[in-house]
């Protein structure tokens, strides 16, 4: 049985390294042009080359998003860019605009073409069409149910990638230009200003305002398919995709840690037992409620938010391990959020599920004991009985 791919986002090279470390089989990234996340740092050509080499050394893959819908002038330089990506050996380019397929086939013929979720491909006939054009994978629209995915796998030979976690549009992907009209930012070229999370007044057909203490917004809650991991694998889905190129290192590491562990458990034990504790971990690091959306039923009132932005913040992420002195059992860490002596915390890492411990001592850079860690990025030392490694994460006990 071919093991399902776990695919993670990365908005910059540091995040990509975290994603590879925390168990991603492949990472999708954007260059500084042609990508829908126009307002994150993204990757320079040199950085793309570097991360491809790093990933390939670990037998992992890099996919580059070129998923804007091009206006005429956006094609300037695209052939040269694609040629470079081909030279670097990127594994696939993710496209939404049909014209990009031919350009990639011509200028980087060894690179696979994946059809972006922006096309909202939800049925086997549209997927057969892309197959004929030479694409090797389709990222399904997030409106596809379990039954739709099943039919697609039965009736096509295409690789299928399914979003399993993260934010999702209220609209069909690509079929929303609210940003264009409200903020003059082109959503299909990476300028989405998330108008669906604005709060509106709602008026009925007679122009009477609907009176309620609840605003009218139509923001979707996030997606989580952790509960259906075994079904996704058994359906024959080829790749499980996590959303969020603009998310933090902590988010990427935490989400990957949960999914990697559970996917491995499925293959090792031929079984997957859903643990609500894992769902809670995912919830805590994204700060937005996540539900299965269209996978198990048609979404109704409980699958969306009505009061605009609903993010809550927490300070769960406490520190990152820099090194570990095995002899003295001391971890050197860099602080991210406040913690103090006697706090109950958890350390986890790519090779460690989690280990709970109590902060017994905090030593600052002047080698003095302190009661609390309250300076972001401060380098500290703490006693830790279990062996840890660089880039393990310490968080609050949840």
């Amino acid at each position: 049985m071919k093991k399902i791919e776990l695919l993670s986002p990365a908005g910059n090279i540091e995040k990509a390294k975290w994603a590879l470390l925390y168990g991603s089989d492949a990472v999708y990234i954007g260059g500084q042009e042609y990508s829908l996340r126009a307002n994150t740092n993204n990757f320079s050509l040199e950085e793309i080359k570097e991360i491809v080499n790093i990933a390939h050394n670990e037998n992992k893959k890099i996919y580059v998003t070129c998923n804007i819908i091009f206006h005429n002038k956006d094609f300037d330089g695209f052939k040269q860019y694609i040629t470079k990506l081909g030279e670097f050996g990127v594994d696939a380019i993710i496209v939404a605009d049909i014209s990009a397929i031919n350009i990639i086939r011509k200028y980087a013929p060894s690179v696979e073409v994946h059809i972006s979720t922006q096309q909202s491909s939800l049925n086997y006939e549209s997927i057969k069409f892309y197959e004929k054009l030479g694409a090797t994978r389709v990222v399904l629209g997030r409106e596809a149910s379990k039954e739709d995915i099943k039919l697609i796998k039965e009736k096509t030979n295409m690789e299928i990638e399914v979003f399993i976690h993260g934010a999702m549009c209220s609209a069909l992907s690509g079929r929303c230009v609210l940003s264009n009209y409200f903020t003059n930012r082109d959503s299909n070229r990476g300028g989405c200003s998330q108008v669906c999370r604005f709060a509106f007044n709602l008026f009925d057909e007679s122009n009477a305002k609907i009176n309620s203490n609840v605003d009218y917004a139509f923001a979707s809650k996030d997606l989580s398919l952790l509960k259906y991991l075994n079904e996704l694998i058994e359906l024959g889905v080829d790749s499980l995709k996590i959303e969020g190129r603009m998310r933090s290192n902590y988010y990427i590491a935490s989400v990957l840690h949960v999914y990697r562990r559970n996917i491995d458990a499925f293959y090792n034990n031929n079984n997957f037992i859903y643990n609500p504790k894992d769902e809670n971990l995912l919830l805590r690091c994204s700060n937005r409620e996540a539900v299965p959306q269209f996978f198990d039923k048609f979404p109704k009132k409980d699958e969306q938010y009505y009061s605009g932005r609903m993010e809550t913040t927490n300070q769960d992420f406490l520190a990152v391990v820099l090194s570990y002195n095995e002899k003295e059992k001391i971890a050197t860490i860099t602080q991210r959020n406040y913690f103090s002596i006697e706090d109950k915390v958890v350390v986890f890492g790519p090779t460690l599920k989690e280990y709970e411990f109590v902060i017994r001592e905090i030593i600052n850079s002047d080698n003095k004991n302190v009661e609390k860690a309250n300076h972001p990025e401060e380098i500290l030392k703490i006693p830790l009985d279990i062996k840890v490694e660089a880039n393990f994460i310490i968080r609050k006990q949840i």
Binding site: F70, S126, L172, G174, D186, D204
Partner: protein
């Protein structure tokens, strides 16, 4: 320029037959944004009437289909083929893939995607000889596409542009959430910070939102008129008599003034990078 217009009533006013040769009809369950759509039986009657009058009939099938809806889609394509419908505007590639069986004259009209000439030409090479422009680009961009495109362009020149389409029932869900019953599924929304009103409505395909203005720009129209093959006028939300007057002014090239009208993106370019690298 030839004109393609929508109809607001299945009993088509005879005056339209004198004025226009191309009619766009909505098919219930398949046409996402059209406010007037017709069940197959009524649709068939309208098409037959228009053909009798030697008019061309366009239908917009811009729904995106789920796998389990493909069987029904095939029946519908067969229905359209038997009706000898003149043109089918499509969004979902399933229609293009299935068309080998049905041999319909297709027009590429993926909502918000028809914004460059290269993609139009890719579809042209695949046998799709016309494209319906997405109105989120400038007049200059449209004219450039027109120059470089091998096929015929249809350009929206009048009507409320659509901005958003979701499969979700976003009005019903809200009413359920606040414990009220929804009676009519045509609503409007606005923000506190301005008085712009946006039409939002639900139908069998989900929830759709339209622009706060009716697209109209006389200067752009004059340039398009001498360059592009078709102008598309969507008269949804206009009474028939008013629509007839408006259409007459287009034909006579007389400028209209109305506070509902705005030039959309004809003269405004969108941005997408707000941070400097």
């Amino acid at each position: 320029m030839e004109y393609v217009i929508t109809i607001n009533d299945k009993k088509i006013n005879n005056k339209w037959f004198e004025k226009c040769d191309n009619f766009l009809i909505g098919l219930k369950g398949y046409s996402l944004y059209m406010t007037n759509t017709y069940e197959k039986e009524e649709f068939e009657e309208i098409v037959k009437l228009l053909h009798l009058k030697e008019k061309k009939v366009f239908v917009k099938i811009d729904k995106l289909f789920l796998s389990h809806e493909i069987v029904e889609l095939e029946k519908t394509l067969n229905f359209l083929s038997n009706l000898k419908i003149d043109y089918v505007i499509f969004d979902d590639m399933a229609i293009l893939n299935l068309n080998e069986k049905y041999n319909l004259n297709l027009i590429w009209g993926s909502n918000h995607f028809v914004v460059n000439h290269k993609s139009c030409n890719v579809y042209y090479e695949l046998g799709v000889l016309k494209s319906l422009i997405s109105p989120e680009i400038t007049l200059d961009e449209i004219l450039e596409i027109n120059t470089k495109y091998k096929g015929d362009l249809i350009v929206p020149i009048f009507g409320y542009n659509h901005m958003f389409s979701s499969k979700r029932k976003l009005l019903t869900s809200y009413y359920d959430h606040i414990g009220k019953k929804i009676n009519n599924k045509f609503h409007t929304i606005n923000e506190d910070r301005n008085d712009k009103m946006y039409k939002i409505y639900e139908n069998e395909n989900g929830t759709h939102i339209l622009a706060d203005f009716c697209l109209y720009d006389f200067e752009s129209f004059k340039k398009l008129k001498t360059n592009v093959k078709y102008g598309y006028l969507d008269f949804s939300f206009f009474e028939d008599e008013e629509a007839l007057k408006i259409f007459e002014s287009f034909k006579k090239e007389e400028k209209l003034t109305d506070k509902r009208f705005k030039d959309g993106f004809f003269n405004t370019e969108t941005i997408f990078k707000v941070k400097r690298k």
